[in-house]
């Protein structure tokens, strides 16, 4: 046991003496969270809205007031010609224009239907889409509260999708995805590189010729990364909570347990990669290409899995981050217990066992 701890200590020394490693370990998660949280936000704020009110009655004026009191929109002025819409967009004075039809209130009361046109500047498609969704939400809430019988002149199915994120905060979606990404990056990439480094410098030979057992060598190499990855996972949760108010509605213990499982999985992947490469560069290349890209693209982190072609959907099913993200979203945002995530957990557990067995097998073959 003593010789094992001496070995683990050495691994910590490697980590704490290498500025680049430290930077990746502790700088990267923080930078990524801040970046994703603030820059790649799917939240909208202060979108400029122009109003073309062709009836100027009570209903349309109230609706306009509702829009601007929602906090997401600021007035860009009133217009009264169709041509002015294009002008507003081109000059950048407005992103969206709301058009109330003539006799808006009359139609609403007499015919139970009235038309509002929402026109968005789609040169920034993302913001446009989001703005329209927000606008629809604001208006629908208003008309429903005004008169239960009014048939709202547009059909919106956003309500159910935003249920756990009423304000549609982008960070809510990003935190679980970022955790999946960062943990894979640190656990798998760093371990595969650190083991490859021992091979490259010939120290692996020395260790293998020493009384240390192969499993002690591997465990000794990954132990520091287990601890550091775990610290990182909790840092992400804490940062999400402190900076972006992302809650942990479910059990924190359960979340930690799932994180440990996922870290183990990523580490065993890292070991598996390292058994197949000779150099650090190769390890890095395979980790980045084989793990990071799929984690970003196929896990549902950024692009919804339902929108992918069938083949890619199957492919995403073998991506560990996909299941991890589902579990973390459930625990953090919905507050569900183990009963609702056991299937996904079982999948992760199965994958972990598979990768550990594969890594052990590869390691033994290499020894012969």
């Amino acid at each position: 046991m003593k010789r094992f701890f001496g070995f683990v200590k050495k691994e910590f020394q490697h980590i704490f003496r290498d500025k680049r490693t430290l930077l990746i370990l502790f700088g990267l998660p923080i930078v990524m969270i801040i970046l994703f949280g603030f820059v790649v936000s799917t939240e909208i704020r202060d979108v400029k809205v122009g109003i073309w009110d062709r009836s100027m009655d009570q209903a349309s004026i109230r609706a306009t007031q509702k829009i601007f009191s929602s906090g997401y929109f600021v007035p860009a002025g009133y217009i009264d010609h169709e041509e002015e819409i294009g002008e507003l967009f081109r000059s950048g004075k407005a992103r969206v224009v709301v058009v109330f039809e003539e006799g808006f209130e009359r139609n609403l009361l007499r015919e139970d239907r009235a038309a509002i046109n929402l026109i968005a500047d789609a040169s920034d498609a993302n913001t446009a889409q989001l703005s329209l969704t927000y606008l629809q939400g604001v208006l629908m809430t208003y008309f429903q509260s005004m008169n239960q019988d009014v048939e709202v002149p547009w059909s919106v199915n956003m309500k159910s999708r935003m249920f756990y994120n009423e304000e549609m905060k982008g960070v809510y979606m990003f935190i679980p995805g970022l955790m999946a990404l960062i943990l894979v990056l640190i656990s798998a990439l760093m371990t595969s590189v650190t083991i490859a480094r021992e091979k490259e410098f010939g120290t692996m030979e020395l260790l293998l010729a020493s009384p240390l057992k192969p499993r002690e060598i591997i465990l000794g190499k990954v132990t520091p990364y287990v601890l550091l990855s775990f610290v990182n996972a909790m840092t992400i949760v804490l940062l999400g909570f402190l900076v972006f108010d992302v809650p942990v509605r479910g059990s924190l213990w359960l979340l930690m347990l799932i994180c440990m499982l996922y870290i183990t999985l990523a580490l065993s992947l890292g070991v598996l990669i390292s058994t197949n490469v000779k150099t650090q560069q190769m390890a890095m290349f395979i980790s980045l290409l084989g793990l990071m890209l799929p984690s970003i693209l196929l896990s549902g982190f950024i692009f919804p899995i339902e929108n992918m072609p069938k083949v890619l959907q199957w492919f995403s099913a073998i991506m560990p981050p996909r299941w991890f993200i589902v579990i973390v979203k459930n625990i953090m945002l919905k507050g569900t217990g183990f009963a609702f995530i056991w299937k996904e957990t079982l999948i992760l557990l199965g994958m972990t066992i598979f990768f550990i067995l594969a890594a052990v097998k590869r390691f033994k073959i290499r020894l012969n």
């Binding site: 050495k10 020394q13 020395l206 010729a209 009384p211 240390l212 020894l367």
Partner: protein, 243 residues
């Protein structure tokens, strides 16, 4: 001549990689306390054989005992009794001289007090006491090589395996290094060394010369020179390689 104990005993060792035979029925023994030179061109199968003796790989067949233990069943015991130095002088570049010593000594199960005492003696003898807290990457290659060797025998193994231990260092440092090897044998450590510098073979008690996976010659340097009517080991080697 006194009959000395055979610390390494190899009978019909074969190692195959697919259809390629790296070691073709090797049979030899190494006596306790001698310097055994394992010579041959690159690719002759030296490293393969040495890796098997160190427990780094399994032979395909053959009967092999190292320090009294069977290489198939008692690898763990063998590993405790041997030291190993690779051709890369493998110390950790980002650890200090002292940390490297403590790490390897710890891996071989030495106690802290014992390590501190021996470390003191060692650094004194090598004249490296002033760099004990310097990182390995900051010290010259020659010092690194001496240190790597000292670390390999720090736990006083029965045998030390040296894999081309003099690559890339200047002749004077090489000369000094061979003096260190001699000192180690005085302490009763058997030295098993591979090299392709034929002049170094002169320092060995006995040498074996491998060609294409087989041992073509095995004797003392003097006997080999006489047998092949050569003035030095280089000539012996060339004659062997041509035949």
């Amino acid at each position: 001549m006194e009959v000395r104990e055979h610390i390494i005993e190899v009978k019909d060792m074969v190692k195959k990689y697919g259809s390629f035979t790296a070691n073709d029925h090797l049979s030899f023994h190494v006596e306790r306390g001698e310097i055994f030179g394992f010579l041959g061109a690159n690719g002759a199968g030296k490293t393969t054989a040495m890796r098997i003796l160190c427990g780094l790989s399994y032979p395909t067949s053959g009967e092999i005992r190292v320090a009294g233990h069977d290489v198939y069943r008692e690898r763990e015991r063998i590993k405790r009794k041997i030291g190993y130095m690779s051709q890369k002088f493998s110390l950790y570049e980002d650890l200090t001289v002292s940390e490297n010593i403590h790490l390897y000594a710890g891996i071989y199960g030495l106690g802290r007090k014992q390590i501190v005492v021996r470390e003191e003696q060692l650094l004194e003898r090598l004249g490296l006491a002033h760099v004990r807290n310097r990182l390995i990457r900051e010290i010259p290659l020659g010092w690194k090589q001496k240190l790597a060797f000292s670390v390999a025998i720090f736990h006083q193994p029965a045998i030390v395996f040296l894999d081309e231990p003099t690559g890339g260092v200047d002749p004077i440092t090489r000369r000094q290094f061979w003096e260190m090897i001699h000192d180690a044998t005085e302490e009763g450590i058997t030295v098993f060394v591979t090299t392709h510098y034929m002049d170094e073979a002169e320092y060995c008690d006995r040498v074996s010369i491998m060609v294409d996976g087989r041992i073509d010659a095995l004797d003392t340097p003097a006997a080999l020179k006489q047998q092949y009517e050569s003035v030095n080991m280089n000539e012996v080697f060339l004659k062997l390689a041509r035949s």
